[in-house]
Amino acid sequence: MPWIADCPITSHQEVAPGHCRMVIHAPQIAKDAQAGQFCMLQVQEGLYPFLRRPMSVERIFADGLSFLYKIVGEGTRLLSRMTQGETINVQGPLGKPFPIDPSFDRHILVAGGIGIAPFPALADAIKRTLGKTPEVIIAARTEQALVGNRDFRQMGCKVHLATDDGSAGKKAFASEMLEKLRPGPGTVVYACGPMPMMKATHAVCEAAGVPCFTSLEAEMACGDGVCLGCAVEANVEIESERMVRVCKDGPVFDSKLIHWESY
């Protein structure tokens, strides 16, 4: 069940240029949260901005959560100005988590840019519940946009870096890196990043015959299944709808369900 609470900010730091990590004290939300879920953050008091901002749960602690975010516009800019000790109004956890299935023994996480955000919690959960260590592909436009890389190495994950311009790791797209890792029987892929990246990742997985779970993004108003603003086209009907709600039916979807042709 989602909570709405004023949560103290226990830490807030710039972790890379234009990228911040915020840790909040939120025991109730932390208790319910699972990797892949997200929260809606109220960035400032009053009516500006008008809507909350969705942020994936980066990590789940006993008494709180962290968010890892990139400053892209007004909302995230204002968010980044909040300081430790202030409180932030948070609604969550929301949405469907990543499925964690013991029948797989190879887990590949494919992150594009800030799409890395939900993966620390997922890697934690895979290690904790299955005792397995996922591999991680981290792709970004340039070296500066690579975040999270050290965190995964600390967790013991094998990390594959890729940049569009070759400034760090391989000069390759995330999906190309995935192909090189030869996903086969027993492999499951989790992907989060820009739509074209996830579309390409889905195609690689289809070809390899391995399942792929994608965490989608969409503009959201309510984050809770009500406004239908975040709908994306599906290949099948879910609850008699061909449009699925990223916030409620997702954000994590079996990539087979998404009508990738429209992207």
């Binding site: 309510c222 008699s240 709808e241």
Partner: protein
């Protein structure tokens, strides 16, 4: 002090004057996670059409200063799925239900009203004659909605009234020069109440891509941004029509709701502010009661249209 919050909206008895805007509350289930939705004077459901509708392509919404634009395009499960999958929850909770309907023709409105009554799918009908998101924005000029033509409003109202004994509310668009005209037409057609206002036509362009932000180009503007416009229109209509008004447009709290009531609304609806604050409508009910206590008003009906000019 015991306060009467109950109001009668053209035959629909609401235990308090607070409902929600159609399309901003789903079918009640999601927000029941945050507060007991049976607290509401009524739950107004997302517009129902005879067949399911998939709505417009994404992106369908964008935030604007103190508001938002939406071009959902009336995506909804359709009447059958509503009755089968959504209604039982609302009935089991004991909610009073306003069934908002959208038809592609007068006949569809009639059919929707008839079936909602027959299958006890609603306690009152709200006919959405004013959705701005189901016409082709590229060519539509002044967007020819039923609610923009007083003649058609009257005709549609009469037709719906012949199809059901439930109270019928007509939902009007603010995209007119004088909203009193369609309101009077609805009254003449036999409507039991007026719901107002639906969203205002608007659009946004992303300067970097030079493309419209909404796939549908044009959408409907809602939220606190439009509240002063809505209050003015309610005040105008209240001066000229005798049937009750359900007022809406940017209501966030009890003070906002009071503006509509003082301007002449018998009930109010909390719309898209619920997206930000899911229990906003519940807080409005509480705030109205507190207002009455503070002002020593024992019956909220005494405040309807009580603005002192």
């Amino acid at each position: 002090m015991s306060i009467n919050l109950q109001v009668n909206v053209g035959g629909l008895v609401m235990k308090n004057p607070v409902t929600v805007g159609s399309g901003t509350f789903g079918y009640g289930q999601e927000y029941d996670q945050y507060f007991d939705v049976a607290q509401l004077g009524a739950v107004t459901v997302k517009s129902l059409s005879l067949k399911p509708r998939t709505g417009n392509k994404p992106p369908r919404l964008v935030e604007t200063p103190a508001g938002m634009l939406n071009a959902i395009g009336l995506q909804n499960v359709g009447l059958d799925a509503y009755l089968r999958d959504k209604l039982p929850f609302l009935r089991q909770k004991g909610c009073t239900i306003i069934g908002n309907i959208y038809g592609h023709s007068m006949e569809e409105y009639m059919e929707l009203a008839k079936r909602l009554e027959a299958e006890q799918g609603a306690d009152a009908i709200e006919a959405n004659l004013s959705c701005p998101n189901v016409h082709d924005a590229r060519t539509a000029r002044g967007c020819k909605l039923v609610a923009q033509s007083p003649e058609r409003v009257k005709e549609y109202t009469q037709a719906i009234k012949t199809s059901t004994k439930l109270p019928v509310f007509i939902k009007l668009t603010p995209n007119v020069m004088d909203i009193v005209e369609p309101a009077l037409a609805a009254e003449e057609g036999g409507a039991d109440g007026i719901s107002m206002i639906n969203t205002l036509l608007g659009m946004g362009i992303n300067p970097e891509t030079r493309k419209p932000i909404l796939s549908n180009i044009v959408g409907g503007l809602s939220g606190p941004a439009i509240r002063p416009i809505a209050v003015k229109m309610v005040w105008d209509v209240a001066k000229y029509v005798k049937i009750p008004i359900i007022g809406m447009g940017g209501i966030c709290n009890a003070d906002d709701a009071m503006q509509f009531i003082l301007a002449g609304a018998t009930a109010v609806a909390v719309g898209c502010y619920s997206f930000r604050q899911p229990d906003a409508a519940s807080k409005v009910i509480q705030g109205l009661e507190e207002y009455c206590i503070r002002h020593e008003i024992t019956d909220i009906n005494k405040l309807i249209g009580a603005m002192m000019v």
